[in-house]
Symmetry: D2
Subunit: 267 residues, 4 copies
Amino acid sequence: MSDNEISYPSSLGRSTRTTITLFDEQIQDLMGNVGFGELAFWLAARRRPTPEQVTLFEACLVALADHGFTPTAIATRMTYLSAPDSIQGALASGLLGGGSRFLGVTEDCGSYLAAAVDASGLGPDSTDDDWDELARRLVTEARETKRFIPGLGHPNHKDGDPRTPRIYEIAEQTGTYGPHLALFAAIGRVHPDIMGRTLPLNGAGVCGAALADLGLPVDLLRGFALLARTAGLVGQIAEEKLHPMAMDAYLHIDRHSTYIDPATDPQ
Amino acid sequence: MSDNEISYPSSLGRSTRTTITLFDEQIQDLMGNVGFGELAFWLAARRRPTPEQVTLFEACLVALADHGFTPTAIATRMTYLSAPDSIQGALASGLLGGGSRFLGVTEDCGSYLAAAVDASGLGPDSTDDDWDELARRLVTEARETKRFIPGLGHPNHKDGDPRTPRIYEIAEQTGTYGPHLALFAAIGRVHPDIMGRTLPLNGAGVCGAALADLGLPVDLLRGFALLARTAGLVGQIAEEKLHPMAMDAYLHIDRHSTYIDPATDPQ
Amino acid sequence: MSDNEISYPSSLGRSTRTTITLFDEQIQDLMGNVGFGELAFWLAARRRPTPEQVTLFEACLVALADHGFTPTAIATRMTYLSAPDSIQGALASGLLGGGSRFLGVTEDCGSYLAAAVDASGLGPDSTDDDWDELARRLVTEARETKRFIPGLGHPNHKDGDPRTPRIYEIAEQTGTYGPHLALFAAIGRVHPDIMGRTLPLNGAGVCGAALADLGLPVDLLRGFALLARTAGLVGQIAEEKLHPMAMDAYLHIDRHSTYIDPATDPQ
Amino acid sequence: MSDNEISYPSSLGRSTRTTITLFDEQIQDLMGNVGFGELAFWLAARRRPTPEQVTLFEACLVALADHGFTPTAIATRMTYLSAPDSIQGALASGLLGGGSRFLGVTEDCGSYLAAAVDASGLGPDSTDDDWDELARRLVTEARETKRFIPGLGHPNHKDGDPRTPRIYEIAEQTGTYGPHLALFAAIGRVHPDIMGRTLPLNGAGVCGAALADLGLPVDLLRGFALLARTAGLVGQIAEEKLHPMAMDAYLHIDRHSTYIDPATDPQ
């Protein structure tokens, strides 16, 4: 490829001397007419969502925005304590905890359900019995291979996560209920008989199912959890400015440090 | 302070076995009833915005979300190319460019205007003549001290940034127009006479003025620019998956590298 | 656990009013007597390395420090262009590319070899024939399962990576040659017959083998590649200050952007 | 500039099919012959340091590598707890705290001293009396403008930081003592009379002075503090694997959270 043939394709932001466009729409036409959540959906899915889809999408973002003093919030506050001149660093520091353990369930659950739905041949016309049968197969397989089903169980909300029924309610009200939420509900119905105990469908998981039903790329669902969390982390920084706690937490940890000798340390 | 007296204050996310709350509101009541932009405002300002305030706020977020192949977007795509397993790393990598030069104008402009407004004694009842007088003083001072006024001028949109009139229009329609936008407009009116040339009021600057008028903490305005940009960067990653360009750009750079000898290099 | 029983164990840095210690060594005794690479090894392995181990360890760090305009270096330079006030952000931005594709080979290769060595029962007294037999089994298995062997092959150095023979030379000279390097060499000997073509043992892979032979934790080898790369990225920032190229690269990319319409875009 | 004229200058890593070079040196010649600290110096300063310079440089890196449970170490451990799959994210998260407050003193002190030395006309032949006179002027000016002198004072080591005399000792032994260390020492001598109390010269500050004496770019000194800290953070992650504390610290913080009502909150 000669240099003169180089081209970098994009549908996103462009500008000329007099215009700024996104997807070839004038920015001034988007401003005031397209909501921020709506634009985030559009940028990722490359199609403008319906108002009903926006409602479900924003409900997921609200559900995932903040959970108080999580490890990610603590990382952001510690970084802000150390480097208050760099808000971008404090935000990035917290987002970097959006990995496999605490914030990855949304993507893991959405991807898991999408793979199962795609392989099943089931679709919008399938019945609850169809979904229950598929769910029974999946739960049995998970038990036999000693794998967890993403989105099932919660360390705290053992009797039910308040976000889960609300997402189902909104999906039904807005007509956005689809196969991923259907399969996730079926897993909730059938797993107690097979596993011998009842686990809650958690909020991160149900958001993964909902985002998959909205047609968002399932290998990018973590990105939406991170977008939601960015709003939470801005709030954490705003609160740290008003009611600082990071210094106290740091001093608590430092003062309760105890020495262990590596030489006698059973590794 | 004894350990038993330690407490870490927060108004943000908390949970019990059966509830999740933000600002003592049940999460299920927020979901579906509070938009994502609205929640982001609430989390940072610690008060629920009016619908009119949400409209102006989201218009700013839309204005700032994406500008195509900026250095931050390129950083995100390069990081995604290197470490596709870690979307959080690719997002964080791009956000880290949200510093003084390319993304800091929003905060710089809002802070600059807020300091001037606070020191002036002017307020909602002041007239355009009052604002023009203050603006004349500021522009003259900037010229004499050879300082830039944040938000004034744009490398590309020399005849006007399309976002600027739109923000003024929305602020007037929603009744959210306030002293920061008033002073910024006055700077736009008076500077050509004093400086001998006409510079545009840029979009990042006008968003800083609007966010300050909304009562958001001016030392945190960069946080909102970063929140907006997070949506853009998720879109950049989604597009890189479909239409990759980072490998081509990397190879272009690598192939056009030329060696310079530090020994003979005039430093 | 009551608060009064809380304790956070550590062997690393501690300080009193008059002392600073690492592993209970006075910092002033370490300074000038322990090299930086030596300390990095000690901090991670929790035991002081021998001078011979330090030589091999630092040779690996030197091998991995910089490779010019890689995607990680470009990310660092783009972030520095955008936010020159935050060197930590520019460094972090580059390190975040240290993931599965470009910088992960060191850890992947070390872990792969360690698992094979551990399962094999082979050890320091095994012969080249023993290692060849094990290697034949591994390469055959990789071919049958269509998996890559980490560290085998290089997009550029198809006839051999100059770092590989040098690591073997240093390992032999310093008496630090061990089972992981032995197995990696055997893979180099036996794979052409089985695979029908000759691939080079690459430098990132041989460093993974060497670091595993040094007894460093194999699930942390990426950390050493990142430490090495930090030195390279500091160099990249120093050079960007003297001979900036990020603005030119950004403008090149921006100017060669071409619009694609998502509506007609075959996804 | 036409595309065919584009070139990106660099003296750092390059490779051909058969070679890898840094500064036009073959990588295999550097490996085993150049230490890691030496290479880091070379990459940043663009000239190979003498062995004496390497000794002082590595002593600074050792002094700055780890300080136990600092906010940056806590951020790294929290991020590792959340996203154990991404070591690069955990490292980056900690480095992002390398800003103005906790890790910036090295650069602030080096820059401050360099500006004063450059403006003074003093040099290698100046006497202690010359430096004392300059120091008296600086301390007086700082007192009058109510500014802090970077590197002066320590929250903990009020009677002296053990790293400071050691750096002076090494600088004298290696013949690398220069004007920045001379001025810093003078500040230590003269400030008690002017300020009415005795503050220690802290370790981060003395390292800034030493790094400036080594001729490293003073606007990049934070980069060396970050390089040193990277080794410390790899050690923190290694220890978190063996002796986890992040979950306990997170639970402690979460359990001691108390709600504050924003409505009645005096802001």
